[in-house]
Symmetry: C2
Subunit: 419 residues, 2 copies
Amino acid sequence: MTKSNAFYAQSGGVTAVINASACGVIETARKHKDRIGKVLAGRNGIIGALSEELIDTSRESARDIAALRHTPSGAFGSCRYKLKSLEESRREYERLIEVFKAHDIGYFFYNGGGDSADTCLKISQLSKRTGYPIQAIHIPKTVDNDLPVTDNCPGFGSVAKYVAVSIREAGFDVASMAKTSTKVFIMEVMGRHAGWIAAAGGLAAEKAGDPPHVILLPEITFNEKRFLAKVKRCVKDYGYCAVVVSEGLRNRDGQFLSEAGSRDAFGHAQLGGVAPVIAALVNRELGFKYHWAVADYLQRAARHVASRTDVEQAYAVGKAAVEFALQGKNSVMPTIVRKSNKPYRWAIGSARLARVANVEKLMPRNFIDKEGFAITARCRTYLAPLIRGEDYPPYKNGLPQYVTLKNVAVKPKLEAFRP
Amino acid sequence: MTKSNAFYAQSGGVTAVINASACGVIETARKHKDRIGKVLAGRNGIIGALSEELIDTSRESARDIAALRHTPSGAFGSCRYKLKSLEESRREYERLIEVFKAHDIGYFFYNGGGDSADTCLKISQLSKRTGYPIQAIHIPKTVDNDLPVTDNCPGFGSVAKYVAVSIREAGFDVASMAKTSTKVFIMEVMGRHAGWIAAAGGLAAEKAGDPPHVILLPEITFNEKRFLAKVKRCVKDYGYCAVVVSEGLRNRDGQFLSEAGSRDAFGHAQLGGVAPVIAALVNRELGFKYHWAVADYLQRAARHVASRTDVEQAYAVGKAAVEFALQGKNSVMPTIVRKSNKPYRWAIGSARLARVANVEKLMPRNFIDKEGFAITARCRTYLAPLIRGEDYPPYKNGLPQYVTLKNVAVKPKLEAFRP
């Protein structure tokens, strides 16, 4: 039985539970020391592999590795860096092979979204082309929930829970202020192309009149007139209106609303912020007093209110990735397979990377109601189990105790390389 | 022993724990049925008293009243409405007396900040002037922590915890992205005049290099040059920079930064949002990629991450208000008195309303370090116990279960009145 080291890296925007996947990888690898030597992590994702900045995770205590399960963000650093095709980036792929060889790496675990699945796929193809034996397994991660094949993505459940909890709480707040003050509240959430995160806000509305009253999705072109009519009706019927809006909301011309409008005093376009644009519109056209919030990183870092389901699934895909590798698999990704809704049961499946890479899963039209401002019962059935369960981190002095690893560098063996 | 009804109302911006005070008032009153008949709540604060829109809290179950302890926002509705002097608003004060008489109200409990303490003071003076026997007790509430005399304000500890937890989490996020993406993160929090909320973010930084690296307070005039130098140095030293900024940050001319800058495409001033202004500045002058968040209502409604200390104190001031009333007190406010720091111990005290009304407690200069961007050890000692302890609400299907009361109206006995 051959034994080699494993490489693990985190890619793209981080989540509240990507470290739970790292924990699953490392804890599982440590149980198979006959087959897997060390888990070497890339410092700042794939860049760490290219620049030979590797972290020796064997230097971390079992206790610190266990603490990754409740620590948000990427413990080894992540990056936004996409490798191009084998032809275009030949030198980079060759460099990866050099680094893998130099550090006796036979397993490549890449934890990310659609782009990183593509990188992982290409690395899995290196094995055939170059004759260097490497098994590449992709571990799904994205708050956007836009990966295909898998029922859902680790990372999404926790941001979904954050959004549903937050809009419920803010809704209670606005309801109590509406008589003499704020009547419209707008909360901006992530989702550049897919509306899954904004849709999750809809879970907070369990009966007619509950907030949020309006959800604005990237899948539905923004119609100013119909939106304003809806807000007006809500204020009339319920006294107030709570809105969840995707950062990726677009107008008829396909422009992001966040970029279509405002400029600072110097005439520079203000980047980001569709919530203030919507708020200004409501105020200008309807005269209502408003408040708005932009959750930004708070939503995807909010480990303090993570979904237990999400944490368990994130750990499970990390664990499964190592098990797949030990079974000799290559070019695959562990998936979440939904077995039943009532009770909610799930299992780990497997997808060929070629089916995953560069495919974006948007909200199906039958998950959005006819009017376009709410989710359907079918969508609710899909989303509901993903936010279920709490999994609080330990606290000390009123603050969650997240771990910062030692991240001891492996001594480089090769010449420097600039990605 | 005379027996009369009590009036209770919520005033101004609501908090994560103002309902815990309501719970303290109602549960304590229910234990003294020999002296206190019903607790009648004002619908939407003092407006409910003026318009004779009273809520009969005796119609609520013990279970629902108990659930107020873990429910954010104002269960009876709040309002932003300040009564003027007795001379200027004679008709309104006369109306209040009429309503109190009509509903046999002998106790007036007003739950709010500095403005409502002033209203409460005036009502306490009505008793002498008009001969109508009413005892007015103010119950402290404000996220801003700006009331004098009391060591701290119920409502503040929970928003402080939210801010410290959130900036810690977002700091972890940015740290892992900084190599190839976001280097500066800016989180805007409440605090129009006093910087207590932003200062609480500083609790997350327990050792050198921990986020937040910069805190921008309303007490310190914004100095663009020194701020930019500080951000640049942080990025150099730590790879990234996390900033907490008070909405009330002002420039040398005394202008709010949030109002000094941006206009929408139609030339209208964009209301709110100092975070995007700071972010644009950083990007323009230093070229760093940035992200920004505006927590807005999410921070003060975040009962899911409330401070247990805060919840206990909020309940205690509600309970104490009723006990003060039963002791025959008038024109007072229960206060939090700090007995010791290690271990943290507190007790309920009492303040004359004349000392509380219309006084705003800002951050003392020795709570802010020399450079103006961080809190001192003295400030940390003061703030630390206020966020201590967790007090999670019950969850069902992944969502916190907050109560919505029946809020049964008391039949009006007087002619209509328009405040």
